[in-house]
């Protein structure tokens, strides 16, 4: 396992815990409570920011450790990592497509969507983008075996 793969596993673990925490909040409180419950909104935004900070901290700490240990990113790593943005873009576009279809089918008669959904769409796009930064790295290395 290369240092890049190890880093991707850490990122994936953070991403999964982060996703589960956000999903659990909306399942426990109910998505519609988001409009009326200020406490829930603050918790959701705090979770969102905390996940990003945890991910950035992990990248910083592992990056410093790799530099200290003299770990290099060679030409093969760079070639493999060039594929990662493709996986990220595909995952984000798929996520947005699912939101579009589900919301259109669910709220077509009302002609409008509850205010919570723009937030959820934004949260999910960022979370999926970050999670697939790590998952995409693991997939790219797996395909290069």
């Amino acid at each position: 396992m290369t240092p890049q793969q190890r880093r991707a596993w850490y990122g994936l673990a953070i991403g999964i815990v982060w996703t589960l925490a956000i999903v659990a909040l909306f399942v426990i409180k109910g998505a519609t409570a988001f409009d009326k419950d200020t406490g829930m909104r603050v918790t959701a935004y705090a979770l969102f920011v905390a996940g990003i900070l945890a991910y950035v901290a992990m990248m910083y700490v592992t990056g410093r450790k790799m530099a200290r240990d003299g770990v290099i990113q060679d030409e093969r790593d760079r070639l493999i990592l060039r594929r990662v943005p493709v996986y990220q873009m595909f995952a984000v576009i798929l996520t947005l497509a699912v939101w579009m279809v589900v919301l259109t089918e669910t709220y077509s008669e009302e002609g409008q969507i509850p205010i919570v959904f723009p937030d959820l769409i934004f949260f999910s796009a960022i979370v999926v983008n970050i999670v697939f930064g790590s998952a995409g790295t693991l997939i790219a290395y797996w395909r290069a075996r």
Binding site: I72, E75, R76, R145
Partner: protein, 72 residues
């Protein structure tokens, strides 16, 4: 055009130079051990610069390390 294939003698050259480890070779040529493994297994083609660094490490020419084959 035919099918291109590039084989290499890195494993043999490591053996002939006193069982240089993959880790040591990687350190000398400035790549990861995983890249040396992939090269030896024929799953990765190096850049021209890396091919030269590997050849010079063993004191041979690039063509002594890498052999181009075309079935045409």
């Amino acid at each position: 055009m035919g099918t291109d294939e590039v084989k290499n003698r890195i494993r043999r050259l490591r053996f002939e130079h006193g069982e240089v480890t993959q880790e040591e070779l990687a350190r000398r040529v400035g790549c990861t051990r995983q890249a040396i493994i992939a090269l030896e297994q024929g799953k990765y083609l190096p850049s021209v610069a890396l091919a030269f660094r590997i050849a010079r490490t063993f004191g041979v020419t690039v063509e002594d390390v890498f052999q181009y084959e075309n079935d045409k």
